[in-house]
């Protein structure tokens, strides 16, 4: 589904990604871990199309398309979804109107008819239940005055609505208490199936207790320095990142 080869990127003059190689297949969950400043969030940002990052080398293929050539909106329309680490507050735009516009623009891109008001509401109700979010929250301005947990739950609600093929969860666990974490993780798990894939970017192992990864990759200084299964995450939790750093330095 997603194939990243030798991806290098910088912001301003600062080189952050130094040659990332990663393959994600449908039905898989990958976790990207690593110490602060290793480039985890940059990777998620580059994949979702943030323009402040400049790709200096490498390629990204998503379902046969050159992802780096696509605008952020076209990436979303092709099936990429990024759950933001810091979801933006947008006064005056309700989540409902926002989702309706987004969903219908995606449908238009795919040559599908726009959903009428009734079918849209029906779909919304169904997805609300799935991610345990209240309608009163969705009637309000997008994320405005939401708690950290409400914002993250809203991200997962949007993901449920848009049914992406590849979901990138950028530090989704940050700022969540254990109950909110469980609700968010449950939402993600319910949305998993053999046709989609999830990439979880996280500093800590605790989210991976709930969203269990098939593969774990450790990012350090803009490169994947170690890959393994979920046991690797447990090892990192127990031993910290220092042994990875020294291993990487030796290598």
């Amino acid at each position: 589904m997603l194939s990243i080869k030798n991806l290098q990127a910088k912001i301003g003059e600062k080189q952050i990604l130094n040659g990332i190689d990663l393959k994600v297949n449908a039905g898989e969950v990958h976790a990207i871990m690593g110490p602060n400043g290793s480039g985890k969030s940059t990777l998620a940002s580059v994949l979702s199309g943030r323009e402040e990052y400049e790709v200096t080398d490498g390629e990204v293929d998503f379902l046969g398309k050159d992802l780096l050539e696509l605008s952020p909106e076209d990436r979303a329309r092709e099936g990429i979804f990024m759950a933001f680490q810091y979801p933006v507050e947008i006064p005056g735009v309700s989540t409902i109107n926002f989702m309706k516009t987004a969903l219908n623009q995606i449908r238009e891109y795919r040559g599908q008819q726009a959903l009428d008001a009734v079918s849209f509401l029906q779909l919304m109700k169904e997805k609300m239940k799935l991610v345990e979010i209240d309608q009163s929250l969705l009637n309000r301005s997008l994320n405005e005055g939401f708690s950290g947990g409400e914002k993250k739950r809203n991200e997962i609600f949007q993901m449920a609505m848009l049914e992406p093929k590849l979901a990138l969860l950028d530090e989704t666990d940050s700022g969540l208490d254990i109950d909110a974490l469980r609700i968010v993780a449950n939402g993600v798990n319910k949305l998993r199936n053999k046709n989609n894939a999830v990439v979880v970017v996280t500093h800590y192992q605790r989210l991976l207790d709930y969203i269990v990864p098939d593969y774990v990759h450790v990012l350090y200084k803009g490169k994947i320095v170690k890959s393994g299964t979920k046991e690797l995450a447990l090892e990192l939790e127990a031993k910290g990142y220092d042994w990875i750093k020294s291993e990487a330095t030796v290598a």
Binding site: R50, P72, F81, I90, F98, A102, S141
Partner: protein, 433 residues
């Protein structure tokens, strides 16, 4: 007082004063005031960002007089489905054909200003030209000296007028250039309540200068809902002097929407001359092309215990220029005043500009006042967030601009009016989804 630079145009205006139906002592005095003031030069503090005199010199001649209009239909300027009294002025003259008064005389008197003068209505005698700043503003003085026609509205005591009054002013420049001067006097007796909608439009390819002035008197416990829609074509220059006087326990909501026109200057002057007043002043200017719109507002708290809240927002596109100047005065004994002001601007193009200046002068010591102004571009992070969900860049921009603008519509009560305004805004911002 700065030295007037343009004696020539002032002389031309004075030498070409028309003969008026309504003679009034205020005219003579106002001519003197106008002569003394001259037209504001580019250095005049109040007109620094709005070079209106140069504009008038370049584009207008006072020698040709004001043409009659042959306009046969006004339907394109109306607000669809609005159930209202309609008063129409075309090229500064009352248009009986298109006007329609439906409210009863027992609720409200609606006539031309000249008729109110002829009938010597007591409210005209008492309030005409009482609050307008003819001593300091040349256009206010010129209007008082030279107004052609106007509207007089008098709301009876303890009466809620059920239907709004829609005042439409059209400048028809299809034959020759237009210079029109019009005037409104509105008096709301104690405990009365009315909604006023003023709209200005224009047609034709010739230039038009519309010098407008109005005075509103809101007596104790009365309530005025006021909406102004400025939707002229790119050949129209409009100056609008509005003074609203509030007595104790009165309520006032104003909303000013500026869309098109070449050069627009609004002076909105609120005199809060009573206790326990509540006043909200909202404004929105959505400018494009080479439109220049300048909103000068003054909120003068003269008595204690009143509340005022001002919020003006602007979106500047193309080569447009926005100007906002908001003064708040809190007089020495106006204790316990709450006065808030904000002006927020978004600049969409590289060639648009905005000048914004809040001015607070507070002489009382026990007050709550705040002001804030911002000018900037659309929030990139918000834009990216919307795009990352599959919304096109164009639509994401429209969505954010619309959300920014539509906030000022919230206090508008009349649903038909609100829907109309909402639609105007959505259209202007290309919100086509």
């Amino acid at each position: 007082m700065s030295t007037p630079v343009t004696r020539d145009l002032v002389t031309e205006i004075i030498e070409n004063q028309p003969v008026f139906d309504v003679a009034h002592s205020s005219r003579t005095l106002a001519w003197e005031q106008f002569k003394k003031l001259g037209l504001p030069s580019a250095k005049h503090e109040e007109y620094r960002f709005t070079p209106i005199t140069r504009h008038l010199e370049k584009n207008f001649s006072w020698t040709s007089g004001n043409p009659e209009s042959t306009l046969s239909s006004i339907s394109e300027f109306l607000i669809p489905q609005l159930d209202a009294n309609v008063i129409v002025l075309v090229n500064g003259r009352f248009n009986a054909l298109h006007s329609k008064i439906v409210s009863l005389e027992s609720e409200v008197t609606i006539t031309t200003l000249s008729e109110a003068f002829r009938k010597e209505h007591p409210a005209v005698k008492e309030y005409f030209n009482k609050n307008l700043n003819t001593e300091t503003d040349a256009f206010a003085a010129l209007n008082t000296a030279g107004w052609h026609e106007g509207v007089f509205i008098h709301v009876q005591e303890n009466t809620a007028v059920s239907k709004p009054i829609f005042i439409l002013q059209v400048n028809d420049g299809s034959q020759s250039p237009v210079i029109s001067q019009t005037r409104i006097l509105g008096v709301l007796e104690k405990g009365s309540n009315i909604s006023i909608i003023e709209k200005s439009d224009s047609t034709g390819n010739q230039t038009a200068f519309h010098n407008f002035a109005e005075e509103w008197i809101i007596k104790e416990n009365a309530h005025l809902e006021y909406c102004k829609i400025q939707n002229d074509t790119g050949k129209v220059c409009q100056v609008s002097n509005s003074v609203i006087h509030q007595a104790s326990n009165s309520k006032l909501n104003t909303f000013t929407l500026t869309l098109d026109g070449q050069l627009i200057r609004n002076n909105l002057h609120i005199l809060i001359d009573g206790e326990n007043c509540e006043s909200h002043f909202y404004g929105l200017y959505l400018l494009a092309g080479s439109t220049h719109a300048d909103n000068h507002t003054v909120v003068d708290h003269r008595k204690p215990n009143s509340f005022s809240n001002e919020m003006y927002k602007g979106i500047m596109d193309g080569n447009s220029k926005g100007v906002f100047n908001g003064k708040i005065y809190v007089r020495p004994h106006a204790q316990k005043t709450n006065a808030f002001q904000s002006n927020r601007n978004i600049i969409v193009s590289d060639t648009a500009t905005v000048n914004t200046k809040p001015q607070l002068e507070i002489w009382a010591d026990d007050v709550k006042c705040s002001h804030g102004c911002t000018s900037g571009q659309l929030d990139e992070e918000a834009l990216f967030y919307l795009r990352s969900r599959g919304i096109s860049e164009t639509n994401a921009k429209a969505m954010l601009l619309y959300a920014f603008a539509a906030e000022v519509l919230e206090p508008i009560q009349n649903e038909t009016l609100k829907a109309y305004l909402d639609n105007l805004i959505a259209e202007r911002l290309h919100k086509n989804f």
